[in-house]
Each structure stands twice: as C-alpha cells, then as structure tokens.
Amino acid sequence: MSAAEGAARPPASRFALDRSARIWLGVLGVIVLWGLGSWIYQVAQGLIVTGMRDEVLWGLYITTFAFFIGLSAGGLIMASGAEVFGARSLRPLSRIGVLSAASCVFVAGLQIIPDLGRPDRVLNLFLHPNWSSPLIWDIIIITVYFVFAVVDLMLMTRRSGTPGARARAIRIAAYIGLPAAVLLHSITAWIFGLQFARPFWNTALMAPLFVTSAILSGTALIALVALAAQRFGNLSLPEATWSVVRKLIATTLAIDLFLVAADYITILWGNVPRDRAVLDMILPGGSWQWLFWLEWLVGGLVPFLLLVAPRERRPWHLGLAGVLVLVGVYAFRIELVVGGLLKPILWFPPGVALGSTNVYSGSFQLTGSYHPTWVEYSIVAGLVAFLALLLTLGYVWLRSLGEAEEPA
C-alpha cells in the first residue's frame, strides 16, 4: 500500500455509529438471540413444536431457505452485469451487491439447519454424500457460491496491485459469477422440479422460474439496501443507476409472471385432475387463493405499475415496489413448497399418516394443512434479523473503506 493511498484512507471515526444505528443493531441482535433461543427449544423438543407433519413435511424453513437463495442472486447479477454486459451504471452497486450475495447465501445455508431432525448429524452431508441427491448438489453449489462471493468481495475491496490488475481480476470474477449464480438457482429448483411424486413441482419450468424470481427478488433487495444506504448512510447514486434498477425489476417481474402463467395454462388446458388438484386450491376461489392475490396483484401488478407508470420518479415508488416484489416472491415460494405437498398422488381416504396424533385431527390427513407455530416464526425472524445485521455491518465496513473507485 502506497503512502498516498494510506493517507487517503478514511479516518477511524467513519466506523462510528450514530445513536439510531446502534438502536437498529440492538433490536436486530435481540431478535437474533430470540431466534437462537427458539431453535435451542426446538432441538430439545424435536420438530413436533413446528406445524409440519408427514403430509406437509416442509414448511416455513424450506420456503425461507428458497427465498434466501433467491435473494442472493441480485448481488452477483448486479456485479457481473456491470462487467459482462457492460452496464456501467450498475457499477456503483457492485460492492453492495456482492456483499448481499455472500450474506444471503450464508444465511440460506444456516436456514437448512433448523429444518433438520438431526442437526447433530449435519456432517454426514460431507462424510457420506449421495451423489444422486439434488440436495448434495445444492450443498456443494451453496458452499462454492459463498466462497466465491467472499473472494469477489475481497477483490473489490483490496488495495494492493495496480488498478488495471484489480479491474481484470474483478472482470474475471464476474464471468465466473454469472454462471455460478444460474447454477445455484437451477439446482435449488431441481430439489423440487425433479420429483415426479409431486406433480405440481415436476415441471421443466422450475429452473428458469427460480433463476428469474431470484434475479427479481435479489435486485429488489439490492434496491432496498441502496435506498436505505442513501437515506441513512452516505451513498449517493446517479439517476442512471436507479433507472437501470427499475427497468431490471420491472422486466424480470414481467418474465417471472409470464413463466408462472405458462405453467398455469399448461396445467389448466391439459385438465389432468392430478395436476389441477393443487392449482385449483391456489387459483381464485380455492382455499389458498390468498397466495394468488399476493403473487399477481400485491406482488405483481401494483409494483409493476409503481415502476413503470409514474412520470415523476420518487424513491418511495421504488421502495414500496421493492417490498411488494419481495412479498410476491415469498408468496410464490409458499405456493411452491407448501402447495406442492397439499395433495399426494395416492389421494384416497384415509390419506397420509401424520406421524403424530391428536383427539381432534386423528392420525390421518387426506388433504394437507399447515399452520406454522411461534417457533417457526421465531427462528425465521431470527435469521432475517441476522441477514439484516450482516448487511448493515457489511455496509458500514464498506463505507469505512471509502467510495468504490472507478476501475480503469
């Protein structure tokens, strides 16, 4: 490090947090501890304290896992898009993007742990891997993706080497990052999409759908983080950058809903009852129709109009659209994970044995039902808070390094 660069380093005081930031971090810390405590309680009691049973055997944990994986996309897409597609106006978001990619994929990996019945045996995943299992592929790509994102972040923040060498390393990383991101989301999709026992999951559209919804939700998250950094931090982005972000979200939202619609139409036109069983519960009039409205109206039409319609752009348009997009994508994850489990192929009375019994519901269930418990909400809230904590601290750290320099 040259003396000139050393002198240009920001003073240590830039690490200092004002009072509101300390309160924010304190609140997040309390939620994280609450989630951790809930998980310890769950480990002691077993997964019986969740709302999951043998019919709807995956719930909020796997839903949120898929959601976190999706969120991690935005970052590398931003960073890589700036390099690979030459979208220079995205460059100011590169470092926040990669920070969010690393944080989200790390929290996604953590989110698998509370879903396991035997977290004490988690090392079996590495000691006895079964290579035909999409879950093993996913563990590998999650690990690779996380390591890659951390290395990429180090490349973007290091100060050694010539600017030219630094720019080249970042550029090479971008060319690796883009296919890695596509692979991560495809493999996560294949956990579900390859299962012919669940007709609602078993579509070749699953991987493209996951990649698209990942770019959608990931970009929305970056937009929210950048808006927060502009409001509470010292980030200042040109209108050109915001414009690209808005267009990226609006376009991927349209593609995402197009893919979902293509899936719906294939099922509806084919009219095979086994395939329609789940969809009929989600479409208007079904018992899970709130998912449809969240996905298409609240998280679809409204944010799309907020992004493309107003003549005068205001930050809250993008902020609200970003939040609604995240709501819509989360609804899609619930629809997928829980919805796909609601009707077994062998749909005959008395149904599936539940693995527990109570005087009201008995031992069997014909059509699945699922109500998350406070333990599930607490653990998920703890991990969301942990993600917010990582993003906040990461941003403060990046800010302490000073503005991102423009690579030559």
Binding site: D54, G117, R121, L127, L135, F196, A197, F348, S356, T357
Partner: protein
C-alpha cells in the same frame, strides 16, 4: 445383473381377497412398536383396480369420499375395493436417489431399508415418495400400551447398519422394512402372517417355483403407479368379480 442364488424379495397383495379389515395395518404397528399416529401400512378405499393413473380413473379424479369404506359411483352403480399400501420396495426408488447421506439404501435382496444412525432428518425422502408411506419422528412419541411391544430387539444388516430398533430415535424417518428381522430368520413378514383372508403372499421373485413369481409372471399381478417407473417389489392382483349392487 442378478447373481446366482441371489434373492429378490417380493410381495403380492390380492385385492380380490382383501376385505379392508386393517388387521395387517394394526399387526404392523404392533410388531414394529409404531407410536400413535404412525402407520407404515394403510388400507386405502378406492374404486376397483385403480393401480394406474394412466386411465380416466379415480386415481386421477380424486376419491369418492373423504371417509374410508365409502363406495364410488351412483346408487345402484356402486363399486369399491381396498388398496393396502406400505413401502413398495421399489427397484428404482426415488427415496433412495434423493437421500443426501445414503441413509436409505437397498439390500441385495431388493428391500429398501433406513439406517437410523445415519439419517439426518431432512425428510426429502418423504417428499420424493409417490406412495406416502414414510413417517417422521417429529418429537416425543406416545404409545398405547405404554411399553414396548412386538419384536423388541435391534436388528443390524450389511456391516452393522441399524435398520430396526424398537424405539426409533427422534428426528429420523422410518417405514416398512419388509419385516427384515423376521425374514432374515426365515419367517414371513407379520402382515402376511396375520392376514385373515390370505390376501398377502411373500417370497422370492427370482425363484421361478415360488408362488410370488408365478403370480407375477403368469397371473398378471401389476405394480401400483407402475407408469412412474419406480418398479416396486410389491404387486397387486386385480379385483375380478364385479362388485356392483345391481
């Protein structure tokens, strides 16, 4: 390739004989000490011969009723049959393919077993099974009576893998074992033994003189959801008599 002298365990269930009495299911819970709410073996109420979803069948249309023992059709054109379903011990088992740690494995005799000491409790196998025959130990279990019944010892196969234990550990998946601890000492699975109508036949599919081989090869026993290609080791003989009231 099948080795010389290798066994392929198989079960044939005669739907013509099954009277839906649940003796096999209850017997199964007893011999295997299954907790309340666990059923390795269930008796589904269906229309006759609903083994495949490839036709315009109730298997695709959904059940006639939410309750068991309710026939489908419009009076007097009513018909009903029973479909006992436990683990189908598939040759190409989706549960085995998805298990990330190889806890679900296939023995040389074709049976699919779970290593209770390896399972991490991710439940991916339950999601992958088309037959809905796997139960997860969610937490503290209840038994009635509250003492161990049935075959009360651990059973290990293939280099000491624990495939049966009277009280399975919390947080692992369990299912029908083809009564491995009985079959290995020359007995029949308990459901076969207790069936009051002799609707279940068990034996070695690779032995051409065995009854199961004959029923499968000559009498046209077929597989449940055969179109999925899982190639189960459990076969069903069709209902032959019309069971209409008219």
């Amino acid at each position: 390739m099948a080795e010389e002298g290798k066994k392929q365990l198989a079960m044939v269930i005669d739907q013509e004989r099954c009277i839906g009495c649940w003796t096999c299911a209850v017997g199964c819970t007893q011999i295997n000490n299954e907790p309340l709410g666990f059923w390795w073996n269930r008796i589904l109420t269906t229309a006759p011969n609903e083994l495949s979803g490839s036709e315009n069948s109730d298997l695709l249309q959904g059940p006639a009723s939410e309750n068991i023992d309710v026939p489908s059709g419009t009076f007097p054109q009513l018909e009903m049959a029973y479909l006992p379903v436990a683990c189908q011990h598939c040759q190409d088992a989706p549960c085995l393919k998805v298990c990330p740690v190889g806890a679900t494995f296939q023995r040389d005799d074709g049976s699919i077993l779970i290593d209770y000491e390896r399972c991490i409790g991710c439940r991916y196998c339950i999601a992958a099974c088309p037959y809905g025959v796997r139960d997860f130990n969610w937490g503290e279990r209840e038994w009635a009576p509250d003492f161990t019944v049935g075959y009360g010892r651990d059973w290990r196969v293939d280099d000491g893998r624990l495939v049966f234990t009277p009280e399975r550990p919390v947080g692992v998946v369990e299912k029908c074992t083809f009564c491995v601890e009985r079959v290995d000492v020359g007995e029949q699975p308990f459901c076969v033994e207790v069936c009051p109508t002799g609707a279940r036949i068990f034996g070695d599919l690779d032995d051409p003189t065995s009854q199961v081989a004959e029923l499968v090869k000559e009498d046209g026993a077929t597989q449940l959801l055969g179109e999925l290609g899982t190639d189960p080791h459990v076969f069903y003989l069709p209902v032959e008599h019309e069971r209409k009231l008219s």
